[in-house]
Amino acid sequence: MENLIALLVAAPLLGAAVLLCGGKRLDRAGHWLGTLLAAASFVIGAVLFFDMLGRDTGERALHQHLFSWVPVESFRADIAFQLDQLSMTFVLLITGVGTLIHVYSIGYMEHDERRRRFFGYLNLFLSAMLLLVLADNYLLLYFGWEGVGLASYLLIGFWQHKPSAATAAKKAFLVNRVGDMGLSIAIMLMFTTFGTFAFGPVLAATGQASEGMLTAIGLMLLLAACGKSAQVPLQSWLGDAMEGPTPVSALIHAATMVTAGVYLITRSGAIFNAAPDAQLAVVVVGAVTLLFGAVVGCAKDDIKKALAGSTMSQIGYMILAAGLGPIGYAFAIMHLVTHGFFKAGLFLGAGSVMHGMNDEVDMRKYGGLRKYMPVTFVTFGLGYLAIIGFPGLSGFWSKDKIIEAAFAKGGTEGWILGAVTLLGAGITAYYMTRVMIMTFFGEKRWQPAPDAGAVPSAEPAAEDHAGRMPHPHESPKSMTIPMILLAFGSVFAGGLFSFNSAFVNWLEPVTAFEHGHPPISAGAVTASTVVVLLTGVGIAYAQYGRRPVPVVAPRGSLLTRAARRDLLQDDFNHVVLVRGGEHLTRSLVYMDHTLVDGVVNGTAASVGGLSGRLRKLQNGFARSYAVSMFGGTAVLIAATLLMRGV
């Protein structure tokens, strides 16, 4: 069985190689090939899953050693895989949601002449992500990690002819590099501390390392997670990454790539458990991002950017849960999986809306779409109910557990974290209701297009739309079927996982689990969650449902305006990092010119000047040479006489 593990990675990799090297003759069938190989990977994953279920809890982890990559004395980098319950969960999520998004893309990218290349990149992405979660050592994980970064760069910048997309791709790549630096430093620290970077030995030996070293490793891992999972302070790339085609947003920036950070922290749980300071940092990052993303989500009029803010916020929940230690790991992963379903569903729904609305992304120009896109409306609506944590749906089960675990942290910390998570749930309900109402309810704001003739379009296929009225229509079957399947997941996954604590028991051998005891009863937590949630929905309804939504955004309060600009994160980066960097380089250049060049040029000039003066002695006149000879002789004789005299 373990020989199948490599095939999980190999199938999409093969697809990427064939599609990207195959050239134009594959244009017709390329998308089918890509989808087929993604599906093949899912089937292999399912086979391995059922095989794993058939074995006892203690024997479920599988290992496959392919070959030694860099075998040097004590430095052993192996291409080896480890498939345990945690990896298995990710494999099923990645390949399952990934395959659905492949199917969706067949319809969504139908009119794009570079569709084959798009599927190649999607396959490359899947393969890198699978490598990341299947690796049995940090170095191979790093390889997958970089692969994911590369694939996301290619996909965000897929419409590279748009300068905004090209810039967004570059931005995502650069911000990710900052995080990658953290991961590489963490790996180096691990190697110097433990002499290895394979999961097994490192995580088993955490007792032997000093707490300071473990904290350093933990903080570096957290930096890495911040980059990939778009957490404060490395969150600025996620909003701009919405420049990519919508399936990319669904796949990379909702269901899989941004979860890599959560995976990393959960996988390295043993390190964080032994380093409370690093754990505290994780919790703080999660809590800050949770509110940050939620506030940004409230102010955005671009449907995809509102969802991006929501993604940031939900990942914040997961990071926070992962920072709580063994009481939170399982719930972090559970929320990750349910989030994978409903967020992918929401993004695909948003893509479907855009598909029917001439690629318009401004929600202020939607309105009343439920009659025109019934399937999209229902699936998006179920995703909406799931994400706000409506009782009974997926999001409820996982988010409620995280809030409970946050309270169970104990002490003042527990109360603060609990309050933050509750507040986050309320804001989530508010902005998601806002998205829902602005898109599907209310009066039509698109029929008399306000500035017909110049439909502002963020997507490239604008030329044939210019001047045409939007004509909302339901999307083709290849797009609606994945949405329906994801909606099923959004509704039932959470309940299924929570039935008999099935999910927690499943992950327990890997992540360990201990029951948290919140200071208030679980029932009270749930009740207050529901109250907060209904309050959020109510406020949103009062603001957007009861009165017409203005087509042109009102000026808004100071906070709104800041949130529209992503809470000034880009301005902050610009002032602190860009300007600061410019000043730093300028002063370095000045130093280089004056100090370094000064010394070198000064030496050269003084040697030159001296030799210019010495050169004058060589004038070619024999008589002046004779004078110097006489002079020298006279000095020599005088010196000799003087010395003898002494």
Binding site: F621, R623, A626
Partner: protein
């Protein structure tokens, strides 16, 4: 006669020779001044030989004469060819190693 007087004479001759080498421009005169310095040295050698009562100095004076004769041959040849190429016997005109 006190042999020290020979030494005074030699010193005087040497000084005249040295001053001539430094001051005069005509190559022939410079050359003659060099000979004057050589002979001043010879005179010193012979005078010391006489004062110390051995022949070493006189023998060295012979060597000097032989070398000076050889030097005259080479030096005059150089001066003649220099004069032919530059139409001047001034040492200051020959300040470059090319024509």
């Amino acid at each position: 006669m006190n042999p020290v007087n020979y030494l005074y004479l030699a010193a005087l001759l040497f000084t005249i020779g040295a001053a001539g080498v430094l001051i005069r421009r005509n190559a022939i005169v410079v050359f003659m001044c060099v000979e004057l310095m050589l002979n001043a040295c010879n005179l010193t050698l012979v005078a010391f030989s006489r004062m110390h009562g051995n022949l070493d100095g006189q023998i060295v004076a012979f060597f000097t004469m032989v070398v000076a004769a050889a030097e005259v041959v080479v030096g005059l040849a150089i001066i003649v060819s220099l004069f032919r190429s530059r139409h001047s016997a001034s040492v200051d005109d020959a300040s470059l190693m090319k024509l």
